[in-house]
């Protein structure tokens, strides 16, 4: 129709409305649908009733990790991506490429190379890589970069910073611990004194102290061992063993490893972190589970809006953080049968209170002791 166009315009003053009216819908449609494929306009005009899937049908996500994907932090993220993928938002087929063992030092190079392959629409990593994202993101404006965790600095633009807090389920776990401890001594085995590490630990002890006072069990002592590594189960296990020796009988396993030590001792129980670890060991009573579904979905939305409507990426200059079980950032894992019914009830009540907004679990991120 390119040739008639000048004709139409010249015709306009002379001839009557007839041509212009026909022209009207196309001309009005034109600006809005420039980004979209021509098929869209046809769809709109022919069958406006039932919507054909529009725009992209595939979303390729690349995820880079400091360690291996067994590590809880990544495992739970991968779980979330799979859950989201199963729901196929916007009818998208979402695939996840996982790249392990990329050190902070290599982050920028790897992220840049990944972007250059042009295969990935979203590239996510731990917030260790935020520096790398900051360095790379402007060279690849079409790609959405994201990093998760409490760590680093926001980058804005197409660099999104997402996070979740799991102190609420940790609090609930603490209730179990406080109710079940014999020795009034409970512990945590953790990586580094970071906020995402300290938050749940504080909540865990608060939950425990809460019930302890309720049941008049008296003062609960708490200690945490930082093993100075994101993944060293052997040391984590020794740390737990030391705590057990020191009289602790409820151990919050912020890292992999303690359960095998706990299994050795009797009357000692553990709590999982990040992922639902009930299946990992018989001594696990429950887990504080991190859920990235919502956060990841935000990324998908942002990307989709950008690709389909050309809505510019505009990452907020602070974390997009899902802080509670209410907004879906976290949940309490399955509870072991070893937990007495009345305790389970107590937990259920507390959980309800949290979900109902009646109970606010305070988030403390300062190092313990």
């Amino acid at each position: 129709g390119g040739d008639d166009e000048p004709a139409a315009t010249t015709a306009a003053p002379t001839t009557t409305a007839a041509p212009t009216t026909t022209a009207a819908p196309t001309t009005t449609a034109a600006p809005t649908t420039t980004a979209a494929a021509p098929a869209t306009t046809e769809a709109e005009m022919t069958e406006p009733m039932d919507e054909e899937p529009m725009g992209p049908t595939e979303l390729d996500v690349a995820m880079i990790m400091l360690g291996t994907k067994e590590e809880g932090w990544y495992a739970t993220f991968i779980d979330s991506v799979h859950r989201v993928a199963d729901e196929a938002p916007y009818g998208l087929t979402i695939t996840l490429e996982q790249i392990e063992e990329i050190s902070y030092a290599d982050g920028e190079r790897v992220i840049r190379d990944l972007a250059q392959t042009g295969e990935y629409e979203i590239i996510v990593g731990h917030s260790t890589y935020s520096d790398a994202v900051a360095a790379v993101k402007d060279d690849f404006p079409d790609i959405l970069f994201a990093f998760s965790g409490s760590g680093n600095e926001p980058t804005g633009g197409n660099g999104y910073w997402i996070d979740v807090f799991i102190h609420e389920p940790a609090y609930l776990a603490g209730i179990i611990a406080g109710a079940m401890t014999q020795t009034n001594h409970i512990s945590g085995v953790a990586a580094f004194p970071f906020p995402n590490v300290n938050g749940p630990l504080h909540a865990f002890i608060d939950g425990a102290r809460f019930v302890a006072t309720q049941l008049g069990k008296g003062e609960i002592t708490f200690d945490v061992a930082y093993i100075e590594s994101w993944f060293d189960p052997a040391t984590a296990q020794e740390a737990a063993a030391a705590q057990i020796a020191a009289g602790s009988d409820m151990i919050y396993a912020e890292r992999f490893g303690p359960f095998s030590a706990i299994e050795e001792a009797d009357g000692v129980f553990g709590f999982g972190h990040f992922t639902d670890q009930l299946g990992l060991s018989p001594v696990v009573l429950t887990s504080a589970v991190a859920r990235w579904d919502a956060a990841f979905m935000d990324l998908v939305d942002a990307w989709y809006a950008y690709t389909t409507e050309g809505v510019a990426y505009d990452a907020p200059m602070e974390r997009i953080v899902y802080t509670s079980m209410v907004d879906g950032g976290s949940s309490l894992g399955e509870i072991s049968d070893l937990v007495p019914a009345d305790v389970q009830d107590g937990v259920a009540q507390a959980e309800a209170a949290i979900l109902g907004g009646l109970l606010r679990v305070e988030l403390k991120t300062d190092p313990i002791e």
Partner: protein
């Protein structure tokens, strides 16, 4: 031969087996009258041929593994090459990888020249990083040129100091330096971790990391497209300086001297202790400068995993380069190419990261063997 074994007194059942025939590899070379013997002179093409053979073997093995996991070797090697030298960007990125390795390679080379087994390049690298940050932390406000000089000196001094702990113990108490340097690698990481958790921790992040440095302290880059920074030039310069030091100065003479024969050196009045201290100081300083380059050239903030095995890789590079300062440059660049190429391979063709290590390890092992094999020849005799 068999009868000779039976000839032996039954009282001594052990057959003599010091000979090459019982030596699996050599058996391959021992049909009849063929004989392995050492070359009096090893010509470049000897080395070249064996090197090529080694690379072919490496390629074969890697191709096998790639097939095992059901990927295409052709694509994989294409990706490997592209990742290493395929484009101008990747070539420059390879040089970026090589930059710290040249320096830690030199650090190892000069120490080994003196017969001192400095396995502490890793720790001395971090000492350099800490030295750089220390100055920035105190006098970050100074005019850039002055600040650079101070940071550079401080990095070198810090690396030297950390190395001197080991050499001091070695000279004073004869404490084995392999042990002390290995141990000190661990110690300094904990010290750094402590600093990053406390005094040095960036107020606005919770990681064990410092604040990001002001961009006035970024080392200038050569091409806008790449990350190749002045650290590379510094590394090349360092290689020339070390070469000159070893060959042209009396200190270099004495360094090689105690490396060649410490007893004779002492008899001829070389102060072995002093030279040992000097050598380790230089070695540590080089590793420290590597830290300076990585911090100001790439990362701009101190982190615990700012480097991964750079010190150890430096040792490999030094020995692959036969401790020759200029050879170190080549070896480092090739290693950088191997690292980048194989990571590219990883996401181009979706092979697991694990295979990257296998590729690096296999190639290294075969190249090392080739270097030795090239010193021998097989001759027909009798």
């Amino acid at each position: 031969m068999a009868d000779q074994v039976t000839d032996r007194a039954p009282s001594d059942p052990q057959p003599p087996d010091g000979d090459r025939r019982r030596d699996p590899l050599s058996m391959l070379f021992q049909p009849g009258a063929w004989r392995i013997e050492k070359r009096l002179v090893v010509r470049p093409w000897h080395e070249f041929v064996t090197l090529v053979a080694a690379l072919v073997a490496a390629v074969a093995i890697i191709a096998g593994l790639v097939l095992v996991i059901g990927k295409s070797p052709a694509d994989s090697f294409a990706a490997l090459y592209n990742g290493a030298f395929g484009t101008r960007e990747s070539t420059l990125e390879t040089l970026v990888q090589a930059t710290p390795l040249i320096l830690t390679g030199l650090a190892a080379a000069i120490a080994f020249r003196a017969g001192i087994w400095n396995i502490g390049g890793e720790g001395q690298f971090f000492a350099g990083v800490m030295g750089t940050w220390f100055v920035y932390d105190l006098w970050g406000g100074l005019p850039a040129p002055l600040l650079f000089v101070l940071m550079f000196i401080s990095a070198a001094v810090a690396g030297a100091a950390w190395a001197s702990v080991a050499s001091g113990l070695l000279v004073r108490y004869g404490t084995n330096e392999i042990l002390t340097t290995v141990m000190l690698n661990f110690v300094i990481l904990y010290i750094l971790s402590y600093l990053l958790a406390g005094p040095w921790q960036s107020p606005d992040t919770f990681y064990y990391q410092t604040q990001r440095m002001a961009d006035t302290t970024y080392l200038p880059r050569f091409f806008s497209v790449s990350r190749l920074h002045w650290g590379f030039a510094i590394a090349l310069l360092a290689a020339l300086v070390v070469y000159w030091l070893i060959r042209r100065t009396t200190l270099g003479y004495e360094i090689r001297g105690i490396g060649s024969n410490v007893v004779a050196s002492r008899y001829k009045g070389i102060r072995v202790g002093t030279v040992t201290l000097a050598t380790m100081a230089i070695s540590g300083a080089l590793a420290g400068i590597a830290g300076f380059g990585e911090l100001l050239g790439l990362h701009h903030r101190v982190q615990l995993d700012i480097a991964e095995g750079i010190g150890f890789t430096g040792i490999i590079i030094a020995l692959v380069a036969r401790l020759h300062p200029l050879g170190v440059i080549v070896a480092a660049i090739l290693f950088g190419a191997l690292v980048n190429g194989s990571t590219a391979m990883q996401y181009e063709t979706g092979i697991p990261k694990a295979l990257v290590f296998v590729i690096e390890g296999t190639t290294l092992a075969l190249v090392l063997i080739a270097a030795i094999v090239s010193r021998y020849r097989i001759r027909k005799t009798g």
